[in-house]
């Protein structure tokens, strides 16, 4: 109706610029309108005695409006618009032919629906007026002669790369627009890069997106993501975080397999109020070695796509133990029970140095008779060989300044973890506040004016930070965890440790005299972490709880696991993070440090890659000039399966270091995931580039849409408006109204 009345579409009116083509001034128009309305008034004034004043007024208005409209038409109102010239511009149409487009319902796939809509709708019109190129987009971009020559469904959707490639191919010609017909399920890596959006916009070509497929799939259950550490310590219990997409609420059964063995089976409750939910899962302790874990959801009844119900992850359980040095200045119960809690833990070797008498130290957990034979390490190399240090009731004066500095730098530069315990000669009472170690601690130790260590029983409470920390997690269930902490027996003593520093986290607290004090505090310091546990009385948890209660052991294991888990090793093999790892190019980086944990750029580094299909390849690497001590490697992983990257490094002193990394190459899994239409991504592509998002039902608007955008070769022209039906109809209406009124008034 609008277009009928006003001659042009609403989009044209919006985009166009209104002006008067006659060239006469607007003042003249205004004066003419005033003159004409005046003449009309004087003409009607003669009849003032015969006609009522109100009737005269109405008649005057009607006559003035008619005259004004005629004057407006004489001034030649027009719209100035920029339009794409069809025959001079190219149009690229990208049709997504990846496997996800085969998904459908009611006997037709998404691709079939798209083809039908294009062929019935605007394709012919566009091809007549634009130089049109049609591409098939999946793993790569292929030009098509016609829609009858579609390739086989691609096993990946690299829409991001395809869009950039299509823009580059048409770079030498005026490109009016790119039309992307797709479900938006991009699983290439490039579109996840923020720089990709900037690059897309820089081409200044509108991309119109046509969304195919349902936005929600209520019948489908999908295991969207599994977050799991790639390596762990022997004897440790790892947690995985699962993200599920589910179109409706209910429940799902999750199973985890290690090879062919079922290791976990768990029921997951799915909320109906959200399409996605996250679930935490505890894996049992696994033997040292590489484990290919398969996480699988049992399908719902009627589910069509079963391939997105499972994901694989590699978990490397380290054979080597992490080493923790525990130094105590006096025999005490806390020492005994910490050692007992970590006894037989395959992932951690607790080496302890205990001053039993004024002139004797007792060593436990040592690797050889030479270890710690001279007491606390005096040089960095010896100290840095440990992954974490625990200092108990041990006076700072037992060490010299050099050793204090080494201890501070153990955290800051080496990236190790330091835990200080309470004691009559610990923390402030041990003089640690006056050493360089104090700067590394997460608390400001009080001045040593009076003793701060007290043998008074107090109750421990979990803080807000503690609720979220893996150190204090005694149960995966939040409420159960809180209950277990509420029921914990009192500790046997505490020490005033001072105020926590900004940026630190207080995980446990205790209450005394109506006030809360920090008990377990942690902070990041340099490359490492430091902790203060302001008690030496957690042993009461062990002695006051039943012998089969594992809370004391769990707490200490988790505390020490956290401490060693974050510490780097001298040689590390880092492989790329994989999710839907269909890409065949893999990369690995080897980080190398000397005994003082300084980057080692001049080592002889060799990597051997062994994989399926008998792959065995060895190569020598050079240090990256931009990252000393980092050695980079790429390799082809064409076959599906597990690849081992064995790195060996020999430094100039002949010392040899070795470490393994692992990569899982999966084949043809990416397309099975996220099969619902990614409308949000398609809308964003359109919005960022100045295009529009259309549903399949609105395809007939496409030709006008393309022409209305200012891309490619555009011409400016004027659209005359004086002959709008609106003007004629308005004049007719006004005059007819005046006639009818006169008839009624009896004054023809």
């Amino acid at each position: 109706m609008f277009e009928f009345l006003f001659s042009q579409s609403p989009q044209t009116w919006q985009k166009g610029e209104f002006f008067f083509a006659s060239g006469w001034s607007l003042w003249a128009l205004a004066i003419c309108i005033i003159l004409v309305t005046g003449l009309s008034a004087s003409g009607l004034y003669r009849y003032r005695s015969a006609i009522k004043k109100s009737h005269l007024g109405i008649a005057w208005i009607l006559q003035s409006l008619v005259a004004s409209l005629i004057l407006l038409m004489l001034w030649q109102p027009s719209l100035r618009v920029n339009e794409v010239f069809d025959s001079e511009n190219r149009l690229s149409i990208l049709l997504d032919v990846s496997a996800s487009m085969s998904y459908g319902q009611n006997d037709t796939s998404r691709l079939q629906n798209a083809l039908i809509a294009l062929q019935k709708g605007p394709l012919a019109s566009l091809q007549k007026t634009f130089k049109t190129t049609i591409y098939a987009a999946s793993e790569d971009l292929q030009p098509l002669e016609s829609l009858q020559e579609l390739p086989a469904p691609g096993m990946q959707s690299n829409l991001g790369e395809s869009l950039i490639e299509s823009l580059e191919l048409a770079a030498r010609e005026p490109l009016a627009a790119v039309i992307l017909v797709s479900d938006g399920s991009d699983n290439g890596a490039i579109a996840a890069n923020p720089d990709w959006w900037n690059k897309l916009v820089q081409y200044d070509v509108p991309i119109h997106t046509v969304g195919i497929g349902r936005v929600k799939l209520p019948e489908d259950l999908e295991l969207l993501d599994v977050e799991l550490a790639s390596s762990s310590l022997a004897g440790s219990v790892e947690s995985a975080m699962l993200t599920l997409r589910h179109g409706r609420g209910g429940s799902a059964t999750l199973k985890v397999y290690d090879g062919n063995s079922l290791i976990v089976k768990q029921e997951l409750k799915l909320s109906g109020s959200s399409d996605e939910s996250s679930h935490s899962l505890e894996l049992p302790s696994l033997e040292p070695g590489v484990h290919e874990l398969r996480f699988a959801l049992e399908p719902w009844l009627g589910e069509l796509n079963l391939k997105n119900n499972q994901q694989k992850r590699l978990l490397h359980v380290a054979e080597q133990q992490r080493r923790v040095l525990y130094v105590e200045g006096e025999p005490r119960w806390e020492y005994k029970f910490i050692r007992r809690a970590l006894h037989n833990n395959p992932g951690i070797r607790l080496v302890s140095l205990l001053r039993t008498s004024p002139n004797k130290f007792y060593r436990q957990g040592i690797d050889s008779n030479d270890e710690l034979i001279d007491g606390f390490p005096t040089d960095r190399e010896s100290l840095y060989a440990y992954d974490a240090i625990v200092i108990g009731s041990f006076e700072a004066a037992q060490l010299d300044k050099h050793q204090h500095d080494n201890l501070r730098d153990f955290v800051a530069s080496r990236g190790g973890s330091l835990l200080m315990l309470a004691g009559s000669e610990g923390l402030a009472d041990g003089g640690w506040g006056r050493t360089s170690v104090a700067s590394a601690l997460p608390v400001r130790l009080p001045d040593q004016i009076k003793p701060t260590f007290s043998r008074t029983k107090v109750k421990v409470e979990l803080s807000e930070s503690g609720h979220r920390s893996p150190i204090t997690k005694l149960s995966n269930n939040d409420e159960k965890n809180r209950q277990l902490w509420r029921e914990m027996p009192e500790i046997g003593n505490y020490q005033s440790s001072g105020e926590p520093k900004p940026g630190s986290h207080t995980l446990l607290e205790f209450e005394f005299d109506g006030r809360k004090y920090p008990l377990l505090v942690q902070q990041r310091y340099g490359l490492g972490y430091s902790y203060v546990l302001a008690t030496a009385g957690t042993w009461r948890w062990q002695m006051q709880l039943p012998s089969d209660d594992q809370r004391h052991e769990t707490f200490w294991r988790q505390l020490l696991w956290s401490m060693v888990d974050s510490t780097p090793a001298r040689i590390e093999v880092n492989t790329q993070n994989y999710i839907h790892a269909d890409r065949s190019i893999k990369s690995a980086s080897i980080n190398l440090k000397n005994a003082r944990f300084e980057p080692l750029p001049n080592a002889e580094v060799t990597i051997s890659i062994d994989g399926p299909g008998g792959l065995s390849k060895t190569s020598t690497l050079k240090s990256d000039p931009d990252q000393p001590g980092v050695y980079l490697a790429d390799f082809n992983a064409d076959e599906t399966g597990v690849y081992r990257i064995a790195a060996t490094a020999i430094d100039i002193n002949g010392e040899k270091l070795a470490e393994n990394g692992w990569v899982l190459q999966e084949g043809n899994v990416a397309e099975n995931f996220s099969q619902q239409q990614n409308k949000r991504w398609l809308e964003r592509v359109a919005m960022e580039t100045g295009g529009e998002y259309l549903s399949l039902n609105a395809l007939e608007n496409l030709p006008d849409l393309v022409r209305s955008k200012n891309a490619g070769i555009i011409r400016e022209h004027s659209l005359p408006l004086w002959n709008m039906p609106f003007f004629f109809l308005a004049i007719l209406l006004l005059k007819a109204t005046e006639w009818l009124l006169r008839l009624r008034w009896g004054r023809i």
């Binding site: 025999p331 005994k336 029970f337 039993t356 043998r455 009461r540 002695m543 006051q544 012998s547």
Partner: protein, 254 residues
């Protein structure tokens, strides 16, 4: 006849009065039985029932001088923060689990009820340590063993060997001799009740750690108690001190 009757009555009255006097809480008011520990280590002596085997409480043997003397040595020879006074405790005392080291003497007379046996089992499995001392001869061994069978029916008593860490944790106790009681020494020997040879035995936990250190056919308590007597040979006292120190340091490190 009347005389005999009244003699029996009088004897009973004396016995009852004496029993009450040694068991009334006020008797040990000088000893902190139940209180917050102000030191890391307390020498905690087990008060036990001997089921009428004896006419006086056997747990009192050498008390309190044994620990009074021994604790001075412990304080001087180690870095352990030591309570200079010992403590007394029963197996059904709720504070038992606050003292991870306990000492029981003359356990040849030890009698434990079912509840006490269960408590002792829990105590040891949680990490507690029991040192037993001063019992001799096959009859007393049998009685002690019967009591421990109530606590750990399935765990055997084993001989501690020269390599066991408990003998090397602070002092190297390679040469171990029978430590005699004073009474035996006065009879010109080191043994009593037919216990000619000394045995160091133990009951282990699942990780091979000593939970119960058994000193059979020897009397360390006497050696500590009489450390300041010229009549009692110093080498025995010195050895007994070393054993005691080792047991405590072992208990605090394993």
């Amino acid at each position: 006849m009347r005389f005999v009757f009244w003699l029996i009555v009088a004897t009973c009255c004396v016995a009852i009065a004496r029993a009450q006097s040694v068991t009334s809480p006020d008797f040990y008011s000088g000893w902190s039985r139940i209180s917050d520990a102000k030191h890391e280590f307390s020498f905690t002596r087990l008060m036990y029932s001997d089921a009428g085997y004896s006419d006086w409480p056997r747990w009192q043997a050498d008390w309190p001088e044994a620990e009074t003397h021994f604790l001075q040595g412990l304080e001087r020879l180690t870095r352990i923060d030591t309570d200079p006074e010992g403590r007394l405790i029963r197996l059904n005392d709720p504070d038992l689990f606050d003292y991870p080291w306990i000492y029981a003497v003359e356990v040849g007379s030890l009698h434990v009820s079912e509840t006490e046996a269960a408590n002792l089992r829990e105590y040891l499995l949680r990490g507690g340590f029991l040192m037993v001392d001063d019992f001799h001869g096959p009859w007393q061994w049998q009685n002690f063993e019967d009591a421990m069978k109530q606590v750990f029916p399935e765990r055997p008593v084993v001989e501690l060997t020269d390599d066991d860490e408990i003998f090397h944790v602070l002092y190297d106790l390679d040469e171990r001799k029978q430590i005699p009681g004073l009474r035996a020494l006065r009879m010109g020997r080191t043994w009593e009740e037919g216990g000619n040879l000394p045995y160091w035995r133990g009951i282990m936990d699942d990780e091979g750690r000593v939970m119960v250190a058994i000193n059979f056919n020897m009397d360390m308590g006497d050696a500590w108690e009489h450390a300041d007597w010229p009549e009692y040979p110093e080498p025995y006292s010195a050895l007994a001190y070393r054993f005691g120190v080792n047991y405590i340091v072992y208990a605090m490190t394993h």
